[in-house]
Amino acid sequence: MSVDEADAGACRPRLPRGVRLKHDETRGEWLLLAPERVIKADAIAVEILKRCDGIATFDAIVDDLAAAFSADRGQVASDVRALLDELAAKRMMDL
């Protein structure tokens, strides 16, 4: 399921059990850990992923990010959608 299929406004993205966002002290970087997978999370991805708590809707996450970083809402929405769809296809995000 992609964000759009899940109804972008109402879906509440969350990292499923078995997928963890971790700040790795030994490497000094944020990592997304899943079974047999390690993905480096850049600063933007970290801000997005921290908000995927299964409570906030997609729209609320986008609003929050756009406000926090004074960014164009359309651009933020497309960045968030791209990341969540990519992770969902890897079973690293539940929508």
Binding site: G18, K22, D24, R27, L33, P35, R91
Partner: protein, 375 residues
């Protein structure tokens, strides 16, 4: 040979063979032929120290494996400790020895993920491959307990002659069982696998058909299941980047505490392995002779040394080079540039010949004592 490598990346994964005890007898087991008896196993405290050091060294994933890790009565304590020190904790299990209560306990203690092996989708074939009656039925129960406990499940199937016609059925079974990920891994020929090679090797046609069927399921299972497909390298043109490069990404610890660059490294003569009882994990990772033996590119011979793919596949698998070319420093003979490549294809054809005449060959089951002759 022991020239200090320029920069050694931190290890990403640690595979802990907590024990070699296992109720199953799978004929392709990745454990060595000489299995460690219980008396040699590290005690609880020693394992906990290994995991503390692993986390400090930068290990991210820890794979609790065996043998069957559930054979250790301190499994819960080990899982709790791994979770406490921040390791992503994966249990690699046959399922035998786990109970619903034990799985729920592990989930509460912070286990991140369970990888459950499955031998076939056909019950009698599955039990025959495992050498354990009732294994298949039990595994289906275990899968349900795992997902009921809220734990993510990966189903792992090793593919060989006896089950290759059901490779795609394994993918469908994984979906039915609620797994989020499936590993379809064609048998690799080391240790028990090489001992049973003539009984395990499918024909090239069977392998191609199974690979195509599984690949075709990717679209259908998109967003439901991740398919990790390990295809057989005997028929390949280039070798695999074994272990992601020697001493580059991961390490194995045997039940008695020897640190190995890979499962089969002990088959390579002349390597000196250090034990966690004598050295810290950091010392072992950075300085032990075995880990430095094939790091970097200085050890390479031709055709690897001048090959532009050496940074991609690192010359392939050292253990396979030893097994098939007679020397661990040679190119992995799976590579078409290896002078031994033709012999690999011949061996594959020879081993697969039984596929036509003997679909249910006798296995030398993996057993604790000196391996028995094929029945």
């Amino acid at each position: 040979m022991n020239a200090a490598p320029r920069e050694i990346p931190k290890p990403v994964g640690l595979l802990a063979e907590l024990t070699h005890r296992c109720p199953l007898g799978c004929p392709y087991c990745s454990n060595p032929l000489a299995l460690e008896p219980r008396a040699n196993e590290l005690d609880t405290e020693a394992w906990l120290e290994v995991f503390s050091q692993a986390a400090a060294l930068g290990v991210l994933h820890v794979h609790l494996s065996g043998g069957e890790p559930a054979a250790r009565s301190d499994l819960a304590q080990i899982v709790a400790h791994c979770a406490n020190v921040g390791l992503y904790t994966n249990l690699i299990t046959s399922g035998i020895g786990l109970t619903e209560a034990r799985i729920q306990d592990l989930a509460v203690l912070g286990l991140d993920h369970v990888q459950l092996s499955i031998q076939d989708t056909d019950e009698s074939s599955a039990d025959r491959i495992a050498g354990y009656e009732g294994a298949f039925t039990r595994k289906l129960e275990v899968a349900r307990w795992v997902t009921d406990a809220g734990l993510p499940l990966t189903l792992n199937a090793v593919i060989h002659r006896a089950n290759i016609s059901r490779a795609s059925a394994m993918v469908r079974l994984a979906v039915e069982l609620g797994a989020r990920r499936v590993e379809i891994a064609h048998a690799q020929y080391y240790g028990w696998g090489i001992l049973n090679r003539d009984a395990l090797m499918p024909s090239a046609e069977e392998a191609e058909a199974a690979i195509a069927e599984v690949e075709a399921l990717r679209a259908e299972t998109k967003n439901v299941l991740v398919i990790d497909h390990v295809i057989p390298d005997y028929h390949a043109r280039y070798p695999k980047a074994c272990m992601g490069g020697w001493g580059k990404r991961g390490l194995n610890i045997t039940p008695s505490g020897r640190a190995l660059p890979c499962h089969a490294a002990e088959t390579i003569p002349g390597l000196e392995f250090w034990n966690v009882a004598d050295h810290s994990l950091a010392e072992i990772w950075e300085s032990s002779p075995a880990f430095n033996a094939f790091r970097g590119f200085d050890w390479m011979r031709e055709p690897c040394r001048s090959c532009e793919r050496k940074t991609i596949d690192y010359g392939g698998c050292r253990c396979q080079a030893l097994a098939l070319a007679g020397d661990a420093r040679e190119a992995d003979p799976v590579c078409h540039l290896s002078p031994h490549h033709a012999a690999v294809a011949e061996q594959a054809a020879l081993s697969a010949r039984g596929a036509e005449t003997n679909p249910h060959p006798a296995y030398a089951y993996r057993r604790m004592r000196q391996h028995a002759e094929a029945e």
